[in-house]
């Protein structure tokens, strides 16, 4: 349920494991959260812990998935690497310490001296107190990547049904046996909630609510430029914004080029429900932070802004596993801004759990039955 990147990846992995799969979406495939992000595949923003392990698994799986035999290079897989920079002494200490922890967990995090930094990013500001290079960070064009995964799923026998909205569950003895949809009743042995920011609403319709909330992120797009930005470049505050609980606006600079020559400037995070109205001051803050990294972009026109809703769980971990309250219902959601990067690992873990294979990463931290997901009193 949900044909975004997570649904597509799960459909592919399950179909390849021999499961008969139907992939549903109430609108078109890969049109919502998946099509409104940057396509980040990051290790750099994750400290040691379960999410990093899932990210490392995903990063290992990505290359084989995007080189699947689909004509053209729709996924635009690019191992450009990330560079995180700090602008203050305090920021430098925090970044250096964070990177040391990541190295201990097996992440390649290589400090850059000023000389190496200006060779890697000649247009970056010189006001930098520390910089770390993450060669494993990569990028895809997310809707393209989702469509590659979906094609692989279809080739493995899955079917795609778009324009089909889930209305409720048909249950028998605390087991979901079918779902009611706008296109009729669909029976199955197992239902996977991969509805991203709408996973909360979908789970309520099915009678087993999980606490997934939308968080809005906005991105600016410049007109196409000659090559100016060569890696994904972040200020060190990005890590703080991703891990933060605050509802008000947070922004940190993420600057990178796309294959079309445009530069993407992100990103903001704020809790605003499903309110997609433009907030000019948010765009202004994003522009200001990006210019601190690349002052040379000051005269470059912004031609577009887009925003999307990210599926947010208060403890910042995805939800992957069976729902303890309703047999037959599974969840694969809550990835916030990391869903593109985490999709292959999520699909692999879910499939391992479904088929009884030994998972490559510990599924415990992602279980459905945890306080952030099923609040007390909501059962």
């Amino acid at each position: 349920m949900g044909a975004g990147i997570i649904g597509a990846a799960c459909a592919r992995e399950l179909a390849l494991a021999g499961v008969s799969v139907t992939l549903l979406d109430r609108d078109g495939a890969a049109g919502a959260t998946t099509a409104h992000g940057e396509g980040n595949i990051l290790l750099s923003d994750k400290g040691p812990g379960p999410e990093l392990r899932l990210a490392q698994l995903s990063r290992r799986l990505w290359p084989a998935m995007v080189t699947d035999s689909v004509p053209g290079d729709r996924a635009e897989w690019d191992t450009k690497g990330g560079i995180v920079v700090a602008a203050t002494d305090e920021g430098a200490r925090a970044l250096t310490e964070f990177a040391a922890g990541q190295r201990a967990a097996g992440v390649r995090a290589e400090p850059l001296d000023p000389c190496a930094l200006s060779a890697a990013e000649p247009h970056l500001t010189r006001d930098v107190t520390a910089a770390v290079h993450y060669p494993e960070d990569a990028q895809v064009q997310p809707a393209g990547a989702a469509s590659v995964l979906m094609h692989a799923a279809l080739r493995a026998g899955a079917t795609l049904r778009t324009g089909c909205e889930v209305l409720g569950a048909v249950t028998w003895k605390e087991r979901v046996t079918a779902i009611r949809t706008t296109e009729g009743v669909l029976e199955a042995d197992l239902f996977v909630n991969a509805a991203g920011p709408w996973a909360g609403e979908l789970s309520r319709r099915l009678g087993a609510p999980v606490d997934v909330r939308p968080r809005r992120g906005e991105i600016l797009v410049t007109t196409p430029l000659p090559p100016t930005v060569f890696h994904k470049v972040y200020d060190a505050d990005y890590v703080g914004a991703v891990g933060s609980d605050a509802d008000e606006l947070q922004a940190s600079a993420v600057v990178e080029s796309t294959r079309a020559g445009t530069v993407l400037l992100g990103s903001s995070r704020r809790a605003a429900g499903f309110d997609g109205r433009l907030r000019p001051e948010v765009l202004s803050v994003i522009a200001g932070r990006a210019l601190r990294l690349f002052p040379c972009l000051s005269g470059v026109p912004v031609m577009r802004a887009y925003g999307g809703f990210r599926p947010y769980v208060t403890d910042h971990l995805p939800i992957i596993g069976a729902d303890p309250r309703l047999d037959g219902l599974w969840h694969a959601t809550g990835h916030e801004g990391a869903g593109i990067g985490l999709a292959p690992g999520t699909a692999r873990l879910l499939t391992d759990l479904v088929t009884g294979r030994a998972p490559e990463v510990d599924a415990g931290p992602f279980r459905v039955d945890r306080p952030a997901v099923i609040p007390r009193g909501a059962e």
Binding site: G31, P142, A143, G144, S147, L220, P280, L283
Partner: protein, 441 residues
Amino acid sequence: MTRHVVIVGAGPAGLAAATAAVRAGAQVTLLDAADQAGGQYHRMPLDTYETKRPRILERCDWWPGGAVWALERHDERRPPRVHVISGPDGGTRRRHVLEPDALVLAPGAHDRTLPFPGWELPGVFTAGAAQALAKGEGVAVGDRVLVAGSGPFLLPVAASLLAVGSHVTAVLEANPAATVLRGWTQSPWRLAAQAGKAAELAAYAALLARRRVPYRTGRAVIEARGDGRVEEAVTARLRADWSVVAGSERTTAVDALCVTHGFSPQLELPVAAGCALRDGFVLVDEDQATSSTGVYAAGEVTGIAGAPAARAEGVVAGWVAGGGSPARLRTVRRRRDEGRTFAVRLAAAHPIGRRWSGWLRPDTLVCRCEETDYGTLCRTADVSARAVRLATRAGLGPCQARICGPTLAELLDTNPHDRPIISPIRLGELANPPEEKESTP
């Protein structure tokens, strides 16, 4: 307290709205992204403009070169905040935020050109661009020019080309004579009301006849050919649904080609303001009010009906937005309603045939900025429209789908007007906070 009315667009509708709003006692700020007021319709060379500048500009706060880059819907009970960037491009432009009591949107329309093989060749112009060059700069786009497409606008374009010395080989209307006649002669008793418009068209038709420019119906340009620039046009006979009659192709030697298939309303501002649309135009009530509180719309965004109708709509919108009593608008409302009838007639006489995409080939560019061809669009069209646009980048280039948007909308079933950043703004300008609201540039 005096009402503050912001009017966006200083074409016939916007100028009429400004005059009416001032007359109703409002304080008016009039914005246009261009440096001259008048819009496309009153485009003129700079020296003429100096003497013929509309007088209303002295009686309102006129911001030439004032581009609205965003509309912020901060409170559903009030019109949106208007975020403006103004001043000469290339120089220092300034950011302002206006909080009007009423907002009148009169952004107009631009001419729409359907893609055909070779339309990206130098020497192929939209009819609007050719007319702007002729009227504004006195420049002829070519010596031997073919004008083609659909709609009465082709006639004044041909006249402008003749005036600057071009030889116009023909004017081709894609719709067959039967469609055009049926549209224009429906309920003929109503035609009298638009006598002015009819006389204007008759004068153009007489001019073409005098200069021996043939006007042909049911024929279209389906390909432009040439080495590095257009050298010949391939035309063909069309059926009523615009499917090409096989074997009817002919080639004509030209050095320029002007092709326009009617107009697309500029809906970015109304969509950003949250206005409801119907049949591709802004939905307005008797007083030109849109579905958004305090937001009025006038001119081609409510229906393509030409300058007289746009003026009448502007008067109604400006007067009501300025706090005037709607009861005093009987006469102008009648003129406005006649204009609407004219729009309906125009749409019936010059529709775009459903089968036009038949002249596309897989390698025909649909989006010129990103060089996305028709074949790629078709191959990718199995995912959501947004995913197709991301995969092919169709409509995502520098023009932001202003040219290919309506075509993509038709081929992909998407809304091309949803553009939160309405006009480009430099990063440095965006990063700076806006200046005090009271100040004017």
